[in-house]
Amino acid sequence: MIWMARVLAGPVLWAVLFSAVYALHGAGCHLGWSDRPLGFTDLHHAAMWTVWIGGLLLHAGLVVWMPAGQGRARWIIVAGTWIGLVSSAFTLFPVIVTSTCF
């Protein structure tokens, strides 16, 4: 089952990141983080960016270091890591380009 865990690692990380950013989004709006300036942005965006970028780095690590096995077994693991990376990059990209609580 280690093979299956490797295949699922990328998509699972996407699910975790998606949930974390979505939860941060709701909690930040409730706590008024978007009204608290932080550098060139606000606390709300900064928190979500941090989680997202940290997650992308983890994804990149999976893509580079995790694949194992040979032939079809390796190919499916590689595909799984890229599915996770692309999904996280694409679906969470809106955290940097859209407004938050309205």
């Binding site: 093979w3 998509p11 909690a27 709006c29 079809r72 595909a79 599915i83 809106p94 955290v95 859209t98």
Partner: protein, 857 residues
């Protein structure tokens, strides 16, 4: 003879290793000597056949019988749902339609959607999976035959109640997604909504049973040395489906429970005036509802990936890419439920998240479409009847997918929301992505089901009627939708420009209905009058055709092994040259393998014919019936009856003696499942707890969601007072002690003090449960505010799991007393441990959550 079981207590005896510790490789498995096929057939048939007559109906647990029943029953409900659809089309054919009044129209469109979704689509895929999986994987039955039968009777009873409600004029009428507050007690005072909530939840027991069953069967009941990376694609699709069911159904079940509790007892989860939110229902519903589309699509896509290469006389293109696409779909489909809620007023950020995810999910879908087209391009397509339905799938589903991408874009969604454009889209996706492939599948596998070949011409005529009727009906709905016609209206007197489009839709709707009737007629004719089919009529390489026609109850006289990987092995397998030939011990046996590699691990002895499943479903049904009748004070009797039945399930499991290992092949013997730890039951318990954890996570999501959307929560009154925290900590301590004892009991199962250990564990678990009671009673009135209602739900979750843990502890103690534990025999100990850990972990989170609320209040 090599004996793989000679290992000491505490080890997982015979777990796919030879006595010297090396793994069982394919080369270690020799061919069994050939025997007379007829003798083997008689021996197996005696053990595996159903009882004759009505006794057989109530006692059969065989996957072939139950799977066919599921499929036949689902087609009956499909016919009922289809008649309702025709009534809808009759009503909408003219703008002042007087065929139905508004009240009845509401019931009919609600019932049409509910029947097609919950009583047709899901049960049909369950039935197909139950019937087909052991055949393509090289097994004799599913992992839990009694669970299959239980699921069927829950489906039959629940579905019957839902349909009968229509005859009595009390059918659900709030739309198939039952939005609150329309379905709350204030606006739906009758029992219509209760029938949906209780009936669908009753039916969903069958879905959860099937999900556990399918997951475990695919992972553990494959042919020896069939690795995951080489199993048929259909199995990959069904594995994805079953995992999605384990994760997708719990939010719906939770939502239904919460709404029914609100309606019955006034706990305000969705009532805005008391801190609830109707959007919580929408979130929970669509957390299920959107993955549901893919739950339906994946088995259909599996059928396509099976049929297309065979009828194109080639092999599938891009096996690895398709597996990766399935995995991507399984995950991504859980990230786009909010696209059903784009117009409810949610923040821009969430709109953007879910719009992006909705667009992205088209990618893995497209990969599969291209793989299928590429396969057809590489091969030589023969336009037999199943292939016609495949073509119908392409023509229909691709259009549905494209309109899906359109609807994923927020600005377009705002324009088309709740119009007939959406009705057209969902029918293109569901009929194109499920019904056409399923009709292809039925046409393809009918010779294996009936042993007969179809009557020429009828099927083709039915196909063209369905295809033309469908597109004539639903293509025009895109136009009526773009013209602004809303869904769920019975008349449209002020909008004559919609009338001719609706009239044409209705006419084609009748053509489509005639096509489905002809399809059913074709099946009946084939069954009754078709000529006998020859073996493997499609020249398929898959194991499902490596058996006589029609498929016998035991599937294979001997199980496929490394030397019998495909349909060419039909004669050697019938002569017993595979693994586990015949039924020499008079038991229903199948092989259990290691999940990844497929190395054989042990032999599972499966349940035989029993009426326990039907009795258990009747007990569960009694609870739902009393709730439906408003006899809430009697409903606990239904729970008690269910617990008694659950106890009976454990009674006929286990063994008091050590059995010798079973000879699987010359030189290779494996232990029976009673004498290993990592049994199918253990894997099934893990799968069930995954679903259970999802339900709990959904409950926590509800707490979080209401916390951030409901302003001004009141401070607790009695709250979590000073005496309650020590009580909660004492309960957690008792749970922790019983968890430790469960481990110690297994570690010391050979000792004379075993009974003392299990008794102590039972006492500790019972104490933990008892300490939860005053905790539950000490909380604020749950009808006061959503916060209090959620607290009640969280504590109720802990109490319910406490009851299960105590029952399992009692089961373990009785196993110890009766001598079912000792040596390699562990009885109920491993499953008890699992539930104890789960109960402890979720209870710790619940107590921490309630404490945090106190601190933050």
């Amino acid at each position: 003879m090599t004996d793989a079981t000679q290992q000491g207590p505490g080890r997982d005896a015979g777990a796919g290793v030879l006595p010297d510790g090396t793994a069982i490789e394919a080369a270690d498995i020799a061919a069994s000597p050939p025997q007379r096929a007829l003798v083997l057939h008689r021996q197996l048939d005696k053990v595996w056949r159903d009882l004759p007559g009505w006794r057989g109906f109530f006692t059969s647990v065989n996957h072939g019988t139950i799977g066919l029943r599921f499929m036949a029953t689902s087609f009956v409900f499909f016919a009922i749902g289809g008649v309702l659809a025709m009534m809808i089309r009759a009503q909408l054919a003219t703008r002042d339609g007087a065929f139905l009044d508004v009240e009845l129209y509401n019931q009919i469109f609600t019932m049409h959607g509910s029947i097609m979704m919950f009583l047709f689509a899901i049960p049909l895929l369950e039935g197909l999976a139950l019937w087909l999986l052991p055949k393509i994987l090289g097994a004799r039955d599913m992992a839990f035959p009694r669970l299959s039968a239980l699921g069927y009777f829950c489906y039959l009873f629940g579905g019957t109640v839902i349909v009968l409600s229509l005859l009595f004029g009390v059918a659900p009428d709030g739309g198939w997604f039952m939005y609150t507050p329309l379905t709350s007690r204030t606006y739906s005072p009758g029992i219509n909504a209760d029938i949906w909530l209780l009936g669908v939840t009753f039916v969903e027991i069958s879905a959860m049973a099937a999900a556990v069953e399918i997951t475990v069967t695919i992972l553990r009941c494959r042919a020896a040395h069939m690795p995951l990376t080489k199993m048929p694609l259909m199995a990959w699709y069904l594995l994805g489906t079953s995992v999605m069911m384990l994760l997708g159904f719990p939010p719906l079940i939770l939502g239904s429970i919460l709404l029914e509790v609100e309606r019955a007892f006034g706990w305000p989860f969705f009532d805005v005036a008391r801190g609830g939110s109707p959007l919580l229902w929408q979130h929970l519903f669509w957390l299920f509802g959107h993955p549901e589309v893919y739950i339906i699509f994946l088995p259909a896509a599996g059928a396509l990936s099976t049929i297309i290469p065979i009828l194109s006389r080639t092999t599938i293109l891009g096996y690895g890419a398709i597996v990766a696409a399935v995995i991507g779909l399984v995950f991504l489909s859980f990230g786009l439920w909010v696209h059903h809620m784009f117009t409810v007023g949610i923040p821009h950020m969430a709109l953007a998240f879910f719009s992006a995810a909705s667009a992205l999910v088209a990618v893995p879908t497209a990969i599969q479409i291209f793989a299928w087209i590429g396969t057809m391009y590489e091969g030589r397509v023969t336009l037999r009847l199943p292939m016609l339905y495949v073509m119908g799938f392409f023509a229909t589903f691709v259009m549905g997918g494209l309109t899906g991408v359109m609807l994923a874009m927020v600005p377009f969604n705002w324009q088309a929301h709740d119009t007939h454009f959406v009705v057209a889209h969902l029918h293109y996706v569901l009929v194109g992505g499920f019904v056409f492939p399923m009709l292809a599948a039925v046409s393809y596998w009918m010779p294996l089901i009936s042993g007969r070949w179809r009557v020429a011409g009828l099927g083709e005529a039915a196909f063209w009627l369905i295809l033309i009727g469908f597109h004539g009906t639903f293509f025009l709905m895109h136009l009526t939708g773009l013209l602004g016609m809303p869904r769920r209206v019975a008349t449209y007197p002020g909008d004559p420009e919609w009338e001719w489009l609706n009239l044409i839709s209705s006419i084609f709707g009748m053509v489509q209905a005639a096509g489905f009737a002809l399809f059913a007629f074709d099946i009946v004719m084939q069954w009754l009058f078709g000529r006998r089919s020859w073996r493997n009529p499609w020249k398929a390489p898959t194991l499902d055709w490596a058996m006589p026609l029609p498929a016998p109850s035991y599937n294979f006289a001997s199980l496929p092994g490394p030397r019998q990987p495909d349909a060419d092995a039909i004669l050697p397998l019938a002569r017993g040259e595979g693994l586990l030939p015949g039924a020499p011990r008079g038991w229903r046996e199948t092989l259990v393998v290691e999940p990844g590699s497929g190395r054989p691990q042990h032999v599972m002895v499966l349940a035989t014919n029993t009426a326990l499943p039907v009795a258990t479903s009747a007990a569960i049904g009694s609870f739902f019936a009393m709730m439906l009748a408003g006899l809430y004070w009697l409903a606990p009797l239904g729970i008690l009856a269910t617990l008694i039945m659950a106890w009976r399930w454990g009674e006929i499991m286990g063994t008091t003696t050590d059995h010798p290992p079973a000879e699987v092949a010359p030189g290779l013997s494996l232990p029976l499942h009673w004498q290993v730890r990592n049994t199918l039951a253990h894997t099934g318990a893990v799968a069930l707890l995954v679903a259970d954890a999802t339900l709990y996570a959904s409950l926590l999501f509800g707490v979080g969601f209401l916390t951030v959307v409901a302003p001004g929560w009141p401070a607790p009154e009695t709250g979590f007072g000073p005496w309650m925290l020590p009580l909660a900590l004492a309960a957690l301590a008792a749970m922790a002690v019983s968890t430790v004892i469960a481990h110690l009991a297994e570690a010391r199962r050979d000792s004379a003090a075993l009974r003392v250990w299990t008794l102590a564990g039972l006492g500790a678990a019972g104490l933990g449960l008892a300490l939860l009671a005053p905790l539950a009673l000490g909380l604020d009135d749950p009808t006061r505010h959503a916060r209090d209602a959620l607290r009640g739900a969280v504590v109720g979750f802990a109490v319910a799991h406490g009851v299960i843990a105590v029952m399992l502890a009692l089961r373990a103690h009785v196993d110890a007393v009766r001598g079912r534990i000792g040596g390699d025999r562990r009885g109920a100990l491993p499953v008890w441990q699992l539930f104890q850990k789960f109960w402890l972990a979720t209870s710790i989170v619940s107590v921490a959550l309630i404490c945090a609320q106190e601190v933050l209040a």
